[in-house]
Amino acid sequence: MRRFTWLVPTLYILFLMLPIYWLLNMSFKTTNEILGVFTLWPREFTLDNYRKIFTDPTWYNGYLNSLSYVVMNTVISVTAALPAAYAFSRYRFLGDKHLFFWLLTNRMAPPAVFALPFFQLYSAVNLFDTYIAVALAHCLFNIPLAVWILEGFMSGVPKELDETAYVDGYPFWRFFVKIFIPTIAAGIGVAAFFCFMFSWVELLLAKTLTSVAAKPIAATMTRTASTAGYELGLLAAAGTLTIIPGAFVIYFVRNYIAKGFALGRV
């Protein structure tokens, strides 16, 4: 029986790949072929859909917009979370447990609850339709997550490391930057990966907070889907392209992910 255990993950991966294959398949077809005939493989192989995306600024800007706010959010979240996670892992202070729990509750807040107030808040501070607005809004769920992951990694580093550094006469910030951060590099990698991931896949807030200048690629797609239903090939091509950054990121951090999961911190 054990000989056939490989079948389970294989079938599962096959199941995972099927819709992606279909998306890829469609992205290389012409609209006529999609609507006219049912084919498992593009008969008239075309790159027109991709060409359109890379030449039309409304498309490729969507891409750049998405990447901009995602990177911005990842940097902000991890930078802010580092000292906080350190405090939670090393010190006791007034209200620490409540604060930690309060942070985590924000991970549980349904974005739909916040969509409208966010729109009003960011309009009020004149940040509507900017990268920073989306980057800041995504902090709502990414900062708690980053603090949680980093706290897990930091608690795994013995306190003696800090003490040795102080005995050696390191001032706190130099110790933190020169010694501590390199020690938990894996944790920072994992935290950054998850911040990237959740900011990249979230759309409800990103769409609510942007109109033109910072509109994410995924939102551009939605427009196409709803207003121009016949451009399915284009939609498929754009969808395929949104998978690529994620795939890259996974490939580079694949060994760290398992480690991050192993700590039970996601």
């Binding site: 255990t5 490989w6 389970v8 993950p9 599962y12 995972l16 099927l18 819709p19 279909w22 998306l23 609507l35 049912f38 498992l40 902000i76 802010a80 000292p83 906080a84 405090a87 010190y91 202070f93 007034l94 620490d96 604060l99 942070l103 924000n106 991970r107 549980m108 349904p110 974005p111 739909a112 609850v113 916040f114 409208l116 107030p117 966010f118 009003q120 808040l121 809004a137 902090c139 900062i143 603090v147 991931m197 896949v201 759309l203 995924a218 939102a219 939605t222 889907a225 399915l232 939609l235 969808g239 949104t242 998978i243 994620g246 996974i250 992910i257 999961f261 192993a262 039970g264 996601v266």
Partner: protein, 288 residues
């Protein structure tokens, strides 16, 4: 824990985080609370309404219906994804190139923007141009998720299983990898059956990660919005209108700010409450 030192300056360390999160959480939350107790007829004129909206929402059949749908959806996907994820994790390779291949391919759905997931499943499941739709109809089953409530539910659940089972797999796999070989060797020597190995070694060691997996899947599926919205738009009719979709319909579609805000708060409280109950139960069980 016992070795932590008391240090009130630690507040300086957490200040940036508190400011950023508070800006995003407290101000919108206050706005929501504000709306939830007032009535407006436009022009930014508001009247105090007390708990009227809360009463209205709690007694509304529409809210009951979406809450029920939401609970059903969440329980179904939990019942499928958790055992399936554990089963897949158990049968994954333990070393070699296969591990990386599995991890990378399985994590892929997790990194696809949620509306792309919805759109992808839309074109995958459409009965005329979709592979899945064609296949099911080819089997002689009449299937059209844009028209049949049953088919819509089936497709939404299948999509969620496709999208999120990997999270459970990755967590369970990490839990399994942390079990030292000696446990398996001891079990072999003690003559334990594969079932006993699972029941007395693997399951207890996975408990922590599985708790996290269930919590995460519970929270996220309870908040699900984008994927079903893109896939079915909440239809046919209201059959796949889950809480978030309903909320956005009321708030942005009908601009009924008061009821929407009251519903938001109730919704948020339900998530918090269920998470808290679940978490305390698990912890109490652990402490025994």
């Amino acid at each position: 824990m016992a070795t932590k030192t008391q240090n009130s300056r630690a507040w300086l360390f957490v200040l940036p985080v508190v400011v950023l999160v508070a800006f995003n959480a407290l101000i919108p939350l206050m706005t929501v609370v504000n709306y939830s107790v007032q009535e407006t007829f436009g022009d930014n004129v508001f009247f105090w309404e007390g708990v009227k909206w809360f009463e209205q929402v709690l007694h509304s059949e529409r809210f009951h219906a979406s809450l029920l749908r939401q609970l059903m959806f969440t329980s179904i996907i939990l019942m499928i994804e958790v055992p399936l994820g554990v089963a897949i994790a158990l049968s994954m390779p333990k070393k070699g190139i296969g591990v990386s291949v599995c991890l990378v391919l399985m994590a892929l759905p997790l990194l696809i923007p949620w509306n792309v997931v919805g759109a992808m499943w839309n074109i995958f499941a459409l009965p005329d141009i979709g592979l899945l739709g064609r296949m099911i109809n080819g089997l002689g089953i009449d299937y059209n998720f844009t028209q049949q409530p049953g088919a819509a539910w089936f497709t939404t659940i299948l999509m969620d299983v496709w999208h999120w089972t990997s999270l459970v797999v990755l967590l369970a796999y990490a839990g399994l990898r942390s079990i030292p070989d000696a446990y398996y060797q001891a079990a072999k020597i003690d003559g334990a059956t594969p079932w006993a190995v699972f029941r007395f070694i693997q399951l207890p060691k996975m408990k922590r990660v599985l708790t996290i997996a269930i919590l995460l899947r519970f929270m996220d599926s309870f908040m699900i919005y984008t994927e079903p919205f893109v896939l079915t738009g909440g239809g046919p009719g209201n059959t796949t209108t889950f809480l978030s979709i309903d909320l956005v319909k009321i708030a942005l579609g009908q601009f009924d700010l008061g009821p929407a805000a009251a519903m938001s708060l109730i919704y948020f409280l339900i998530v918090l409450l269920l998470c808290w109950v679940f978490y305390t139960l698990m912890m109490r069980h652990e402490a025994q």
